[in-house]
């Protein structure tokens, strides 16, 4: 095992990694910006190195600074956390070139999965379901009709050169297809100077479900079940659950097996997550995250596994600490991402934390770098705490979450605690009946009386 690990990140995830290292007897090096000299991840690390100025580009994205800090402190390995350099194939390469272990997948796999088109075609080849569509450009109406019939309405007409929703048309009925194609073609031509179109199945009320996996790099891959991350706002996850209320254990096993087979063929190493849209019993690949995720704790709560420790073991060359049939699930877990934002209008709220008192008791986990007297910096992500709750079933979990949110005291800054209190009071949430559009609608409802 490593003797010393450098943590190339900040905030709660740096603290999370620091804890796993200390629990394994590994000493830690924190790197930090000038703005983070008093941060909790710096206070709790065994050593710390200031690597640059307050902005991320000067510090947490500063590859020479991080590498030099690792060399100077004789760190054996670097954990990149999430965000920042965690999905930079270049960083992973440079780390390894310096004889330092990169705690994550190979640069090659990071690069592959970072490419939207290449990754989709690769996972399809490996047997992971993707959103079905025309195999390339649609040139004539006859083919369009045939393909749409095959996909089943509604279908989506998309510009090949597209992005940002332009040149995109949802077609609900056969009779609308021709007109929609014309409109999309005109829009695409105007927006991108290219009127090439293709067809895809349109998902009306999908959920975002993802599968956590661990691979050892020697073709052994296990999955740790699913997370439902459908509660999103502007493509940012807000609240995540394990497991998903509408997935039964057979569906979980089936998709889990497919994912494991595919990534085993790829020889994937370390932790990763395959994100899917899910509708009417079908999974459709969105992308793969080749790193630890913000929401990994909910999986830890239901499986009892420490995913960061698994990452460290795998990176150090150990085999997986358990086999698929040793993975078991207990109860239900929910994570609330608590941001330093006004819960009403989502404006950022950096500043001095006056009082800080996290909730406690059975089934309550808090991952946060906050403390009374800490100043939340305006330079970085607004995530300041993750409240993670476990219960023997979803009902107990939600009731416990409610009381924990009520107990949580953070003053001096605004946080999104009231948003979470609002979400979990909604009948649709309580029934587990939501999709990826639901939260945006909830927020909209309250602002438009």
């Amino acid at each position: 095992m490593f003797e010393k690990v450098l943590i190339a990140n900040r905030g709660e995830i740096a603290l999370r990694i620091n804890r796993a290292c200390h629990e394994m007897g590994i000493s830690t090096v924190a790197v930090h910006s000038t703005a983070d000299a008093d941060a909790m991840h710096v206070r709790l690390a065994d050593e710390s190195v200031c690597i640059g100025g307050a902005t991320a580009s000067e510090s947490y994205l500063n590859i020479p600074g991080i590498i030099t800090a690792a060399v100077i402190t004789n760190a054996n390995a670097i954990h990149p956390g999430y965000g920042f350099l965690s999905e930079s194939a270049r960083f992973a390469s440079i780390v390894e070139e310096h004889g330092i272990n990169f705690i994550g997948p190979t640069a090659e796999h990071i690069k592959l999965m970072g490419d939207k088109i290449a990754s989709k075609s690769k996972v399809k080849e490996l047997g992971i379901p993707v959103v079905p569509g025309s195999d390339g450009e649609i040139t004539d109406l006859t083919t369009a009709l045939k393909v749409s019939e095959h996909l089943g309405y509604p279908v989506l007409v998309k510009a090949s050169a597209g992005g940002g929703g332009r040149g995109m048309q949802v077609v609900h009925e056969k009779s609308d297809l021709e007109a929609s194609i014309s409109r999309a073609r005109a829009e695409a031509k105007a927006a991108f100077g290219d009127d090439a179109l293709y067809l895809e199945k349109f998902l009306e009320r999908p959920r975002h479900i993802e599968i956590q996996i661990l691979g050892d790099g020697n073709n052994n891959v296990i999955h740790l079940g699913e997370r439902d991350c459908s509660l999103q706002r502007r493509h940012q996850k807000v609240l995540e659950e394990a497991g998903c209320t509408i997935l039964d254990s057979e569906e979980r096993d089936t998709i889990g097996r497919k994912v494991c087979q595919a990534l085993s063929k790829l020889g994937y190493k370390n932790a990763g997550t395959i994100e899917f849209l899910y509708e009417n019993g079908e999974f459709y690949f969105i992308e793969m995250n080749t790193r630890l995720q913000v929401e990994h704790p909910v999986t830890e709560m239901v499986t009892g596994l420490d995913i960061v420790k698994e990452q460290l073991r795998i990176a150090a060359g150990s085999s997986l600490s358990l086999s698929q049939n040793e993975v078991s699930y207990r109860g239900h877990a929910i994570e609330c991402r608590i941001n330093a934002e006004n819960a009403a209008d989502f404006t950022p709220s950096p500043g001095l934390v006056k009082d800080y008192h996290p909730p406690g008791g059975l089934g309550v986990r808090v991952d946060s770098g906050l403390y009374a007297g800490y100043r939340v910096q305006p330079h970085y992500d607004s995530l300041v705490s993750k409240l993670i709750i476990h219960g023997e079933n979803r009902n107990e979990c939600v009731m416990r979450l409610r009381r924990a949110l009520d107990e949580y005291v953070i003053t001096g800054i605004s946080t999104t605690i009231p948003l979470h209190q609002e979400i979990i009071a909604q009948p649709e949430f309580l029934a587990g009946d939501y999709d990826i559009h639901w939260l945006a609608k909830m927020v909209e409802r309250r602002t438009t009386p």
Partner: protein, 148 residues
Amino acid sequence: MGKFEIEETAIRKLSELLKENDLTEIEIKEDKKTIRVSRSLQFENHPVSQMAPPSEDQTIAKKEASTTKQTGEAVLSPMVGIVYLSPEPGAANFIKPNDLVKEGDTLLLIEAMKTFNPLRAPRSGKIVEIKVSDRTPVEFGEELIVIE
């Protein structure tokens, strides 16, 4: 048992020492006698201040970024790296105290990722102090040289 004798002078003296030296507590024991005076610092608010004191064995010693008392302007390290005071082993140092330098002169080298980055004088002046030793690691923002 005898009455307490309040050693007023001693307490006043200890209080003074406490303040002068910016301490929070002094305890004196003599035979069976003990005097302890303490004072909470009037932080406007620094909870958790006791926690995780920088460990002794930190590779890179924390230096107080205090403004130097001498006249002069400190040149700060623009990066984390290893400082080299001479262009190659055995060669003379780029600068020594009391040298006069011109803006743009190389003061020292900082190695980061096998690259030797010259640190150049931000302005002309006299070298007052070299605050760093040869081949030692420095953090971003650390004071390296003072130019008058």
